[in-house]
Symmetry: none
Subunit: 179 residues, 2 copies
Amino acid sequence: MGNKVNLEYIVDGSSRKATYVRRKKGMLKKLEELTTLCGIDVCAVVYSEFHHQPLVWPSPPEVQRMINNFNNYSEFGKSKNMMNQESFLEEKILKATEKLAKFEKENREMEMSMRMFELMANGNIIDNMNNVELNDMAWIIDEKLKHVNWRITELDNKASTSQSQAQMADEAVKPIDKE
Amino acid sequence: MGNKVNLEYIVDGSSRKATYVRRKKGMLKKLEELTTLCGIDVCAVVYSEFHHQPLVWPSPPEVQRMINNFNNYSEFGKSKNMMNQESFLEEKILKATEKLAKFEKENREMEMSMRMFELMANGNIIDNMNNVELNDMAWIIDEKLKHVNWRITELDNKASTSQSQAQMADEAVKPIDKE
DNA sequence: TGTGCTATATATAATGT
DNA sequence: TACATTATATATAGCAC
């Protein structure tokens, strides 16, 4: 168990899939952690024999957003220089893009919840009321939500306190160092 | 050493960078291994304060190839070869408008799902799930809550260091090239 | 199939240079 | 600041159901 692994293509199909499932999970966890810890933006797209559609992370709207950035700077930038006389069109594009970004952002907020809902809605619901794990889960979720709510309240208070307190808060939260 | 890590945004800049450097390396290694072992195609793009340009993996051309594939009806790919500049822009507006409508629709749908989820989470609809879903749920909910916490932290930082945060956000979208 | 288990391999946080 | 070390934490391969 936990054997050293030969880093080459796994020929056996079922082993390959097992490895894929295990490592995909680990990999997404790593992405999630890196994103959380370092406050960065990551997107990933996976094409494989195991999905009919590409697996995207963290969410299709987010990936789309990053891909648009990626493309826009190489293609749209060029167009911009070639079409000065079309600036009114550019402006229309810009406005549409901004509005789009706003909706994409809102979508991102809800994406995780959406995934939760899908898990629940996909016929995985059973009707046994007395499962201990569910109760544990409920408690844990409840505690975490309390903590989140507490932090929101704290933030609210900070927002409405005096300037001097805000300055104290400034010192408590160090600015991001640029390197 | 190897201490258990608090999975939230690292406020201290140098720690954050150290963690980013270490984990980025590990993450890319995982991507490499997953690709090799399972014969899949992965691409990743990272926007961060640590690079002026996005970090792309496995390589800019490869990422571009996969992104073009992802956008099966790539507006740019078609436009570049088939359209004059004016129709190119008109096409962009059209696409942006369509996309906007799509996101607005998705938003409405997600809001509805969100409400359903809230009902479920309050124990009013779902009584139970099997252990597998519980574990998945636990992970996803946990991540969701971490994300919420991170957003609060981000908001907090922004409130007290709005200047440096704004600069950071600006740098998050820069043209692509080799790292 | 997919899940749990557990021995190992691997990743990595803190520390020293 | 970057790199080497090392104690721990985490990921995971192979197996049993």
